[in-house]
């Protein structure tokens, strides 16, 4: 028989106390995709073998990502009852000293330490000569709601999630709130979709809740093929239980019978961690028949797609789960009437659903008090490109974009100047350096010609050629066009041809007009956002950097010299 929520919570607390204040030091190593790329798995192996060599006893956990990706491999040591001391850019050579001096000897290696994070409730003195990591530029602007556990807990251990407040939202919904009250809480929060369109989540849910059908589905979209965006995958790697709880509550609020979490095949880390979270939730009675003794029954399945960016479009996503080519459907009928396998369906992004547990726990009003105007809550930004601090931050909406770039991300590397920002994925838009004094708010950013979109922010310094970058983005869009609508299929190829011509310094004076005509046709004649928004990279680049295009066309020169570099593209596999 399943234990009560109280018993599970008690067990979780005991286990957590053993970790942070038990007998042994606790070593945590960040191992999301970013950590892996920096060599974190090798470091974890080195730590294990060095502990054995030195005969030191400690607990070692592979956790997710703290967001400070630039400092990876990132590990921290917490002595029993003490605070967490972090070491950044750790190499194999650092491990013996960290183990002998700190883990075994109790004295942090001050010269190598990146910072400390204070353990709530610990009365141990703060370490001398080590900065507070929460005062780091990348963390000081943050308000971590979705990412509250990221980098802190083992994503494969549901008890660590429960010990940190996990599943209290589901318990609250099932015991204190009915279906409609849960929906009302999300409505009061003002939560809007974080997948790109920023549509009010509660409104979307109400379409499904209002449908009396027996079989109804909640779909969670983690296709995330956007170059420059990794926050969805990172949530699944760092705290998959948050998402799973969100998908369960969404099912409860909409009266759905089943949830699907949709991930791209090949993203092994996110897939495995998500599947484990689902299995463990089932074992503890958070999934299955009569969840926590209520009359609500629900299941979640992970569905995989092949490589296809368009599979992230909601109707193409349903086609892919049905096992077909990921091509968008005609609408109407809309998913809430005729969705997956013809059943009423609701589709949300990973980030959107991951907010839901904290909204239900703390109340919609609490969430609505964060953010700016009708852009409530926080936004999870992926910072990449020529920035000093690359990684992932969760900041309140309404923050100034220039503060994100020049404060949180530390400005540009090597003292160079910012030239432009690519925002919101390949279909988003470019912002010139002079235009980033703008608030991160769905409407304000859109008016500036950019979008929050997936949260990807790629910063380019003045050594980057805008025409070459635009060609690169269009080459991606062309490669990823599913081919269903000819204005997109042919338009993308045609745009790419023109851009390649301009990069070869063989462009003609008619080329800009030609591209605008193609762009208008794509917008008018495509079923989904891929074609409708596919001209954005070109139009936004022209808006801020028209003169640089002119220099390529009329002056026959590439000011940065980038365009003459060798150039490769993937084979045209989808023709």
């Amino acid at each position: 028989m399943a234990s009560s929520f109280l018993e599970i919570g008690h067990e979780a607390q005991l286990r957590w106390q053993e970790l942070v204040a038990g007998e042994k030091p606790w070593i945590r190593i960040g191992t999301a995709l970013c950590g892996e790329a920096a060599g974190a798995f090798e470091i974890a192996g080195d730590v294990e073998s060095e502990l054995e060599t030195q005969g030191v006893s400690a607990l070692v956990s592979k956790v997710g990502c703290l967001g400070l990706c630039f400092a990876e491999p990132l590990m921290d040591v917490q002595l029993p009852g003490g605070h967490r001391i972090f070491y950044g850019n750790v190499s194999s050579d650092d491990i013996p000293e960290i183990i002998s001096a700190h883990v075994s000897g109790g004295a942090p290696v001050v010269a190598r330490a990146l910072g400390y994070i204070q353990e709530a409730g610990s009365d141990a003195p703060l370490p001398d000569g080590i900065p507070d990591l929460n005062q780091h530029p990348m963390r000081i602007w943050e308000n971590r709601i979705v990412l509250r556990n990221a980098g802190n807990i083992d994503p494969l251990d549901i008890y660590q999630y429960v010990a940190n407040g996990g599943y209290r939202a589901l318990h609250k919904a099932l015991t204190d709130l009915d279906q409609n009250q849960t929906l009302e809480e999300v409505k009061a929060s003002g939560l809007r979709g974080r997948g790109g369109a920023a549509f009010p989540t509660a409104t979307k849910w109400s379409f499904l809740a209002g449908n009396p059908a027996q079989d109804k589905y909640v779909l969670c979209n983690c296709e995330e093929g956007d170059p420059g965006a990794f926050n969805d995958k990172n949530i699944l790697e760092s705290d998959p239980n948050t998402l799973v709880e969100g998908v369960i509550i969404a099912g409860y609020a909409t009266g759905a019978s089943k949830g699907y979490i949709f991930i791209r095949h090949g993203h092994d880390g996110p897939i495995e961690r998500c599947r484990t979270a689902i299995e463990q939730a089932r074992e503890l009675g958070f999934l299955g028949k009569n969840i926590l003794g209520s009359d609500f029954s629900y299941e979640i399945e992970v569905a995989l797609t092949g490589d296809s960016y368009v599979a992230g479009e909601e109707s193409a996503l349903m086609e892919a789960i049905e096992g077909k080519r990921a091509m968008p459907r005609f609408r109407p009928p809309f998913p809430a009437q005729f969705g997956l396998f013809g059943k009423p369906t609701n589709i949300n992004n990973v980030k959107t659903l991951s907010y839901v547990p904290e909204i239900v726990s703390n109340g919609g009003e609490w969430f609505a008090s964060i953010g700016h105007d009708t852009s409530t809550g926080t936004v999870i930004l992926c910072l990449s490109g020529n920035l000093k601090y690359t990684g992932m931050v969760e900041v309140p909406l309404g923050i100034n974009l220039k503060d994100v770039i020049f404060e949180a991300a530390g400005g540009m590397r090597d003292g160079k100047n910012l030239k432009f920002l690519q925002t919101g994925g390949p279909l988003g838009g470019v912002l010139g350096a002079d235009s980033i004094d703008v608030l991160l708010d769905f409407e304000i950013l859109r008016a500036a010609g950019a979008i929050v979109g997936s949260g990807g922010l790629i910063a380019a310094d003045d050594s980057v050629c805008i025409v070459d970058m635009t060609r690169s983005l269009i080459a991606f869009c062309q490669y990823e066009s599913c081919g269903k609508c000819f204005p997109c299929r042919m338009g993308m190829s045609h745009l790419l041809e023109v851009l390649e011509r301009i990069c070869r310094l063989e462009g003609t004076s008619d080329d800009l007009t030609l591209m605008r005509n193609i762009g208008e046709n794509m917008q008018a004649g495509s079923l989904c956002g891929h074609g409708q928004l596919g001209f954005n990279p070109v139009s936004s680049a022209l808006r801020y950097f028209g003169s640089e295009f002119d220099r390529h066309i009329s002056g026959h020169e590439c000011p940065t010299g980038t365009c003459s570099m060798p150039r490769y593209s993937p084979a045209l596999a989808r023709r």
Binding site: P227, G306, S308, Y309, K324, S384, P566, R567
Partner: protein
């Protein structure tokens, strides 16, 4: 039944998840064999009550499927925008040179596949490459070429 057919059948029939489709069956075969042989198209068609034509339509749509046996090793270089602007093209050029190739594809001896990937997902560590699905960040043209050479050398000496 040949060994290949047996492995295809096991992969297709052994899917654990409740929702089994043409695509999920093809992914199961890809996981087992690393490619989709002709026999698999037939098996998947029969198993999912569809036609070889329908199965081929799906298989040919997703570029992760290949239709001949894979090389021993796979090197992928990220082609995403974040990697592009910090030198992905030079990294890819260097990888091709180390592999003795002109463009994407397999080496003639079947030892190595070289491929561009639209985004490997570790953008904060650009430029990124993957060797047999293991990620390496902040690579340089030199370090990337060395990984290719090391990988091929290692095999010669029998690991």
């Amino acid at each position: 039944m040949s060994g290949l057919e047996q492995r295809i059948q096991n992969a297709v029939h052994g899917q654990a998840q409740p929702t089994v489709t043409v695509l999920s069956s093809l992914l199961a075969v890809e996981d087992e064999l690393g490619y989709i042989p002709k026999e698999a198209l037939e098996e998947v068609a029969e198993f999912t009550h569809s036609t070889v034509n329908d199965v081929w339509a799906v298989a040919s749509f997703y570029p992760n499927f290949r239709f001949d046996p894979p090389a021993e090793h796979k090197v992928e270089v990220c082609w995403g925008a974040s990697c592009h602007l910090v030198g992905a093209m030079s990294v890819f050029k260097s990888v091709l040179e180390a592999a003795g190739m002109e463009d994407e594809g397999d080496t003639a001896d079947g030892r190595l596949t070289v491929k561009l990937n639209t985004c490997l997902g570790a953008c904060a560590h650009a430029p990124v490459m993957a060797v047999d699905h293991h990620l390496f960040g902040r690579v340089t043209p030199q370090s990337a070429a060395q990984k290719v050479i090391d990988g091929l050398q290692q095999d010669k000496h029998g690991k």
